[in-house]
């Protein structure tokens, strides 16, 4: 197993962002992390790189990557992993590029740092990557500043940076939300092509079930920081079990808003909005139960 996350709990001060979430990722596998804003999906993604924004803290749990305990790794060794073994594709490509530098310089940082390439060699590698991503004149793109490129071009640059050092784990944090629909489709196709070629395991963070259907092998559904259901993509889309997943997949309207956890949940976090609420839902938090091949669900119905 390439990546194993066990009972991951993350706190932002008095707010519990993720509660005992666990999943695994095999080589070449794509896991979709799905949930609404604030469900903790980006937090899980950042935790994999141990790059939580202040005041985020990993309170408990374990993240094992290639047999190494990421949470016990000293900062220097972690830096050697970031960008080389574990790469991030950020959400907003304009914000993720430094406005003060040309693309060519910042895009070769990772190659210079992890592969010891000179800037000239790095630009060669980058130009080849960008050309494969359908950028007509990559040398010209490398000479430009971030604001001179289109959103799609910028996201291609960031994807190229993420792939440049040949990572074995990729965290893609809603990489297409800031793009228009047609560009989204192109970028997703490119990303999927590169991913299947390089066989990089991917953690794909999204709220878009359409993307999930096309790109992922397995899906984990997060709600209020809790993992409520996990199953192969096919199963999630055709036979969802958790009432929340059923509402998502069926695009059913839900009343109310998602609660924010302060401490360990004493009840099912979804009970307020659940159409199938029972007495036990308000008194006990449902544990994850296996309900089929690779299919787990946290609901008192099962």
């Amino acid at each position: 197993m390439l990546l194993q996350v066990k009972d991951l709990t993350v706190r932002y001060g008095g707010h519990l962002a993720v509660w005992e979430a666990g999943f695994t990722l095999g080589e070449g596998e794509v896991l979709g992390l799905v949930g609404e804003s604030g469900a903790g999906k980006s937090t899980v993604g950042r935790a994999l790189l141990r790059l939580l924004p202040e005041p985020g803290r990993i309170v408990s749990g374990a993240i094992t990557f290639k047999g190494r305990d990421l949470l016990a790794l000293p900062e220097a060794e972690l830096r050697a992993l970031r960008g080389a073994e574990i790469a991030l594709i950020p959400q907003d490509p304009l914000a993720a590029l430094n406005p003060a530098f040309r693309i060519g310089l910042q895009a070769t940082d990772a190659l210079a740092l992890h592969r010891g390439l000179s800037r000239r060699e790095g630009k060669g590698v980058m130009a080849r990557l960008l050309a494969r991503m359908g950028i007509a004149d990559p040398e010209d793109a490398l000479r430009r500043y971030p604001h001179e490129l289109s959103g799609g071009m910028r996201q291609r640059v960031l994807i190229a940076i993420a792939f440049s050092c040949g990572p074995s784990l990729l965290v893609a944090d809603e990489p297409t939300t800031s793009l228009d629909v047609t560009t989204q489709a192109q970028i997703l196709r490119l990303l999927d092509g590169l991913r299947s070629e390089t066989r990089v395991a991917t953690c794909f963070i999204t709220h878009d079930l359409g993307i999930v259907a096309h790109l992922t092998h397995r899906v984990a559904i997060l709600y209020a920081g809790c993992l409520v259901e996990q199953a192969p993509t096919e199963t999630i889309l055709t036979a969802p079990r958790h009432p929340y997943t059923r509402a998502l997949v069926g695009s059913l309207p839900l009343d109310g808003i998602m609660p924010a956890l302060q401490g360990p949940p004493q009840a099912c976090p979804f009970s307020d909005r659940c159409p199938e609420r029972m007495a036990i839902c308000d008194t006990a938090h449902p544990p994850l139960k296996s309900v089929g091949a690779g299919h787990q669900v946290a609901c008192h119905l099962y």
Binding site: P53, R79, P90, L97, Q106, L113
Partner: protein, 271 residues
């Protein structure tokens, strides 16, 4: 625009003073004391008149510009070199380091600047380098404080996170990602700092704790001219005018640069 013009004229005066000046600024001529400027029936030999020791005012004003420019550049450079890393480290690392550094800055800033400068000079003794040192010791906190504020905002930007995500360490991020984005702010801060430095130097020289007595300075010229205000007003007024124009000029320069370099303040007119 006016700020740039004043800056250029001042620098030109400072650099070219030895060639522009009609007289040795320290040569006394007791047979020609308190000569009026030319427009008050003075002689062209002393275009701006002479002081109470018969020294040529124009020459002394120009030589004083050298002191002003040296102090402005030297003090600004040093405050930036000390204040910027403090602000960067404080804002980037946050936590205890930030608390410690900012409390030091708070305590430092709570001491009245003028008193601190005068006290320092009284201990250090007079001299150009000592004036610069005193200004740096009084004013490094301004850079530290403002830079820290900007870094606090910058560090939350996604490109900083992206650099961390490719494995860059904190010192490279500060030097290579944050510092270049601080350049516009540094330029503005520097020009305002120059105005302050010139003012403080004049003040110290005025009370006799600035540069050596043999070196002409607007501050000491104002002090010397003060006693003869009724019989030779130009002796005090002309150096004051030079000082005011310089300080206003640096302030205008800073404001102009701020409008140019800060897109949030950019108006149609400035564009």
């Amino acid at each position: 625009m006016a700020g740039v013009l004043i800056g250029v004229v001042l620098c030109a005066a400072a650099i070219l003073a030895p060639w522009l000046t009609p007289h040795d600024p320290n040569r006394q001529d007791l047979s020609a004391i308190r000569q009026p400027p030319v427009w008050m029936d003075g002689a062209w030999d002393h275009p701006l008149g002479t002081d109470s020791l018969g020294r040529d005012l124009l020459s002394r004003l120009l030589w004083s510009a050298r002191v002003a420019v040296t102090v402005a550049l030297g003090a600004t450079l040093c405050t930036a070199v000390i204040g910027t890393p403090v602000g960067l480290a404080s804002g980037y690392f946050r936590g205890r380091l930030d608390t410690f550094l900012m409390r030091v800055v708070d305590v430092w800033m709570s001491i009245p600047a003028v008193l601190l400068a005068i006290a320092l000079m009284a201990v250090l003794g007079v001299g150009l380098l000592k004036v610069i040192l005193a200004i740096v010791l009084v004013d490094w906190t301004r850079f530290a404080r403002v830079i820290r504020g900007e870094v606090l905002a910058l560090r939350e930007r996604e490109f900083v996170e992206a650099s961390r995500a490719i494995g860059l360490g904190p010192f490279r991020i500060m030097a290579e990602e944050l510092l270049p984005n601080l350049v516009p702010l540094l330029i503005v801060l520097a020009s305002l700092e120059m105005a302050i430095a010139v003012g403080v130097e004049a003040l110290l020289s005025f009370v006799g704790l600035g540069v050596e007595a043999a070196v002409p300075s607007w501050g000491s010229m104002i002090a010397e001219g003060r006693g003869y205000l009724l019989v030779g007003w130009w002796g005090m007024t002309l150096p004051m005018l030079a000082l005011v124009v310089t300080v206003v000029g640096f302030n205008l320069l800073g404001e102009g640069l701020r409008e140019r370099l800060d897109p949030r303040l950019r108006t149609e007119a400035a564009r």
